[in-house]
């Protein structure tokens, strides 16, 4: 199993370690629900080093990304991050990614752990096919670490070490010099809370950078502002925030226009200055012209204590009208929530549907996504 540079951190904080996409990761430390509330109410630190980090630089870096990303890249400013899909020719989803524009012709792409090698091959193939000239197409995952600090009190904490970072807008990043190393701090996340994600060099620098970021916070104290948080609560937090996950809401056989992330699909991106077609665009335009995909992602709120789980069929009467992609008892809302692909005609909020658990029917009503939104700070 692959180990992240924070493996010792997991062990030191008694993480319950599991195999996650080939990486030894902490599912939880003190307890999943406790960590979930800690992130919603104060702050949590997640090791997300298992996610892939790919550097693409050189004369055609921008054009390569325009080809593979469903969103426009050319109008990104240096210091900006952008969420995008990477599609296949059929309009299915190869992965969802975050693109960082480090310089005019230098980008960093953060990809899902399970898709890292697939995307490296894809990028390489696109480079070859188009005869793009690049200075670098490098998998930087092993040389770097990545942590996410998430929660309403995180920016106060970061404010003690950086005046700049708390002034960053959402989806902006700063490169900070820390002695001899550079770290990238972006105002991004996957929990529905404010916070940052930090990319830093692996090795000795991790300890140093953590010390710098955490400013002596004793994470074992009962009332600590920031505590270790595992991948278990990352999943419940992102589900409440209505954020899709590859393998659940996103996949090669799932039409990109059905996943609830239409904002990240620019079907007009071949228009205007530096316009370019992206792979999968023609297929998606056809779907859009024909009235959109048959099913789209919707939220479900269940009645009762039984949770809907991925793969369960959604019914209206005897008729199959959808399938559940994610579901859990929501620690914040105190009821069971789920996401599901459901027939277009039944998406209106408040529509009564049934989830067939295989051992009985779980009554549900459709709900807009997200289920949870962080309160705006005064």
């Amino acid at each position: 199993m692959l180990k992240t540079p924070l493996n010792a951190f997991h062990r030191q904080h008694k993480g319950h370690l599991v195999d996650f996409a080939g990486w030894e990761m902490a599912m939880y430390y003190s307890g999943l629900v406790q960590e979930h509330h800690q992130v919603r109410n104060s702050g949590g630190i997640f090791d997300v080093s298992h996610m892939g980090r790919v550097k693409i630089a050189g004369r055609h870096a921008r054009r390569l990304l325009e080809r593979v990303c469903s969103r426009r890249i050319s109008d990104m400013e240096i210091g900006q991050c952008r969420y995008s899909l990477v599609c296949n020719e059929q309009g299915g989803v190869k992965d969802d990614v975050i693109v960082y524009r480090v310089d005019d012709d230098e980008f960093l792409i953060v990809v899902n752990a399970s898709n890292r090698e697939k995307l490296m091959r894809h990028f390489e193939e696109v480079r070859k096919t188009n005869d793009f000239t690049l200075k670098a197409l490098e998998d930087r995952t092993m040389e770097t670490a990545m942590v996410a600090l998430q929660g309403p009190k995180v920016m106060d904490l970061i404010g003690k070490v950086s005046r700049e970072v708390p002034t960053l807008k959402k989806y902006r990043f700063a490169v900070k010099n820390l002695l001899i190393t550079k770290i990238i701090v972006s105002r991004t996340g996957y929990t529905g809370e404010d916070g940052v994600e930090v990319i830093l060099p692996a090795g000795m620098a991790v300890d140093m950078a953590l010390k710098y970021l955490l400013q002596g916070v004793d994470m074992d104290a009962p009332d600590a502002i920031l505590k270790p948080a595992g991948l278990g609560c990352r999943d419940t937090l992102r589900t409440e925030a209505g954020m899709p996950l590859y393998g659940h809401e996103l996949g090669e056989d799932i039409c990109a226009l059905s996943c609830g992330v239409d904002f990240a699909i620019a079907l007009d991106k071949d228009q205007g200055d530096k316009g370019e077609q992206f792979i999968g665009m023609a297929a998606l335009k056809k779907v859009a012209a024909e009235g959109g995909p048959a099913r789209k992602l919707v939220g479900l709120v269940l009645d009762g204590k039984r949770s809907a789980r991925p793969g369960m069929v959604v019914k209206q009467g005897d008729k199959d009208v959808g399938v559940v992609t994610s579901g859990c008892p929501s620690p914040t809302l105190g009821k069971c929530i789920a996401m599901a692909f459901v027939d277009q005609a039944l998406l209106a909020p408040g529509t009564s549907l049934d989830v067939d658990s295989g051992r009985g029917i779980l009554p549900a009503v459709t709900s807009p996504l997200p289920f949870y939104k962080a309160a705006k700070k005064a």
Binding site: Y28, R306, S307, C328
Partner: protein, 126 residues
């Protein structure tokens, strides 16, 4: 061995079976609850439910997953643990004791001989 009591037998699916006379107490192991994470709901078959060895006798819901509970013996449910209705977290805190799931009057004990003793189970999960 603190986490695997020697006074009962264990199945591949991480249930423990403790037999006293013709009454079997069924629960799930520390290993199982560590995998499940926080338990949110326990729904066991009601007293009077008769079943064959290897049948499903209930379901445990956690934040992360839903898990069927099997019994290696056949018999009839005579009591389910009412304390878990109000406090499903009891299963996380004391899976081998106060967090037991159901008591069963055994009619077919043959399946129990295929279960593991504490030593063998411990070896399998560690």
């Amino acid at each position: 061995m603190a986490n695997v009591p020697a006074d009962r037998v264990y199945s591949e699916t991480h249930e423990w079976h403790k037999v006293e006379g013709d009454v079997l107490t069924l629960g799930i192991t520390q290993f199982a609850v560590d995998q499940l994470t926080d338990v949110t709901y326990v729904e066991m078959k009601k007293p009077g439910f008769k079943f064959k060895a290897g049948d499903v006798v209930g379901t445990v819901e956690s934040v992360k997953t839903t898990s069927d509970i099997y019994c290696a013996a056949g018999g009839e449910v005579i009591e389910s643990n009412a304390a878990l209705n109000d406090d499903p977290g009891l299963l996380n805190r004391d899976p081998h004791g106060a967090g037991w799931l159901v008591k069963i009057r055994v009619s077919d004990a043959s399946g129990l001989s295929k279960c593991m003793d504490a030593g063998k189970y411990q070896a399998q999960v560690h």
